[in-house]
Amino acid sequence: MAKYIVVLLDEGRLKKLEGSGLEKQVEKLFGGALNAFNVELSDEDAQRILDEFATARVDSRGAITDVPVAFNRVVFEEIAKNKSLGPEVMQGVFARLAEIKEMAAKESEYLPPPEIEV
């Protein structure tokens, strides 16, 4: 089964992609309720992610999940920078592993809750 990463796209992220040519690759999920990119991974890249992050796992869809939020954030930044969903995205992500792990350590005990009325 091919493995991939799902990168969720909220309004802010979609705005950053305007004019990148990637708009056509946005997947509509759950009847258009969610927008996302599916970034396909080589076997080597998938394995490296699983090795680098102890919590990472492959779910029933073949998607790699349970990675730090910081990892997902950097994947999006590399997509926006490279204007691509190709292998250069993961090259850019792996080059920033130390930075991701530093951010991930900070988020392991605290994540800011969303500003919504409960």
């Binding site: 309720a33 796992r57 779910d59 605290y110």
Partner: protein, 453 residues
């Protein structure tokens, strides 16, 4: 031939009730103790709590684990590990043990025939009448509890290791076991929000009577429910006899969970939000709890779930894919194999409700629900034949929550999501962390009245 399904009797024939509700009688029992012991959590190699035996004592004494009455003897442990049966023949999946360290054993100086007073949060809680003292090799018990690919090739895919939270629980136990019956002598009070979900088997059966529920299907949970769970509950409940099941019982497992699961408070209130917000009528939906540090033992855990929910009075139990599982240690349909045809290497050459001294509760094995863009709705895998499937992956949803994306109502009901955020604001994190586990260990789910012994 009647097709009406009646409520099954408890597993073992009668509900175990080992709770003394009269404080004077409780005090009298406590006074006969040879020694007193302050219950300590079982911790992993990093010192993080993975279990507190008080939850097992509660579940035994209030009858959830009927017919188990206490910590198992060496012969019973061996039989459970070999055949998943108690010495009285009734099937049971897991070792239930009261363990102490060599150091504590030396300090206590107790022997067979002695009564041990167990204190919780510094107050008298229960007694253990010691029948036998023996030693275990915790790692060996851990491995034998869950099985191995060599010994249980029908369902075990990978050797269990320290990434499996249930294996870690047994591996982290102390080597000295006190076997004997428990009795709660100072009845604990459940704390909010858990108090309103506390329905021990006797009370749940009374509640079913009050509600006129003859047929009840149970939904096992350790999750804040997403819409896929809601559809599982609603659709599985169409089973029944003359009509769909009268009631849907949600029985949430409360106790230590793996990092990344939701906090217990969010789980129970999230399920409650499903009925309070009208997605399932409160008259048909009851949220309850079981105190248990989850072992994540897929087919074995499903057997425990069947026992507990039969004891609570349910006629049916829904089982999905990867039931109570973590990782890929077991076949994803191991639970359905156990209930559908049996697992001989675990002692069951037939389904567990067709073997002698087996269960009476009926399994409702369900496959998957997903969102189908072509159907434009949440579809059942047995019906939908379209290629594009958007699955309710729990981990995908956790990722969405972590990123602070407000989930669309087709994934999470807004009222349910707000409950998750409410507890996120309390604990500073949407999911279980070591810090959460340590805070919870201090507080637990109960308080105890003063009892001067």
């Amino acid at each position: 031939m009647s097709i009406r399904i009646e409520r099954p009797e408890p597993h073992g024939g009668r509900l175990i009730e080992r709770v003394v509700t009269d404080p004077v009688a409780g005090k009298k029992l406590a006074k006969g103790a040879a020694a007193a012991f302050d219950i300590k959590p079982t911790v992993d190699e990093k010192g993080v709590p993975v279990r507190n035996v008080y939850r097992e004592i509660m579940s035994v004494c209030y009858g959830f684990f009927s017919p188990v009455e206490g910590s198992m003897t060496e012969a019973e442990l061996e039989r459970v590990l070999k055949e998943r049966r108690l010495l009285n023949e009734w099937i049971f999946p897991y070792p239930i043990l009261f363990d102490v360290s060599e150091e504590d054993h030396k300090k206590l100086g107790v022997s067979s025939g002695d009564r041990l007073l167990l204190r919780l949060k510094g107050k008298p809680f229960a007694i253990l009448d010691i029948e036998e003292i023996y030693r275990i090799n915790p790692e060996e018990v851990a491995t034998r509890t869950f099985g191995t690919p060599e010994n249980n090739p029908e369902v075990v895919k990978e050797p269990f290791d320290k990434k499996h939270p249930g294996w870690v629980i047994y591996k982290s136990m102390n080597p000295v076991i006190y076997a004997g019956k428990y009795k709660i002598i100072n009845e604990p009070k459940l704390k909010p929000p858990f108090d309103r979900f506390w329905y021990p088997p006797k009370k749940s059966r009374e509640e079913f009577d009050k509600r006129g529920w003859r047929t009840v299907i149970n939904h096992q949970t350790r999750n804040v429910p997403h819409v896929g769970h809601e559809h599982l509950m609603k659709n599985a409940a169409y089973t029944g006899d003359l009509e769909p099941c009268h009631g849907i019982l949600v029985n949430a497992v409360i106790g230590v969970k793996r990092k990344g699961d939701y906090p217990d408070e969010a789980i129970v209130e999230g399920h409650e939000a499903v009925n309070l917000s009208g997605y399932i009528k409160p008259e048909r939906h009851l949220v309850t709890i079981l105190l248990w540090d989850m072992r994540y033992g897929n087919p074995l855990e499903s057997l425990l779930h069947g026992i507990v929910r039969q004891n609570m009075g349910c006629t049916h139990h829904m089982f999905g894919r990867d039931h109570a599982a973590v990782g890929e240690y077991y076949d994803m349909y191991a639970t359905q194999i156990l209930w559908g045809k049996g697992i001989p290497s675990f002692g069951f050459d037939k389904p567990v409700n067709e073997v002698p001294y087996g269960l009476k509760i009926r399994p409702q094995n369900m496959a998957e629900f997903w969102y189908c863009p072509k159907c434009g709705e949440i579809a059942y895998s047995g019906n939908c034949n379209h290629k594009e499937r958007q699955k309710f992956s729990g981990s995908f949803i956790r990722g969405m929550v972590s990123e602070g994306v407000f989930p669309p109502p087709v994934i999470f009901r807004p009222e349910v999501y707000k409950v998750a955020v409410k507890w996120w604001k309390v604990y500073g994190y949407p999911f279980v962390t070591p810090k959460y586990l340590m805070e919870r260990e201090k507080e637990l789910e109960v308080d105890l009245p003063d009892m001067d012994v």
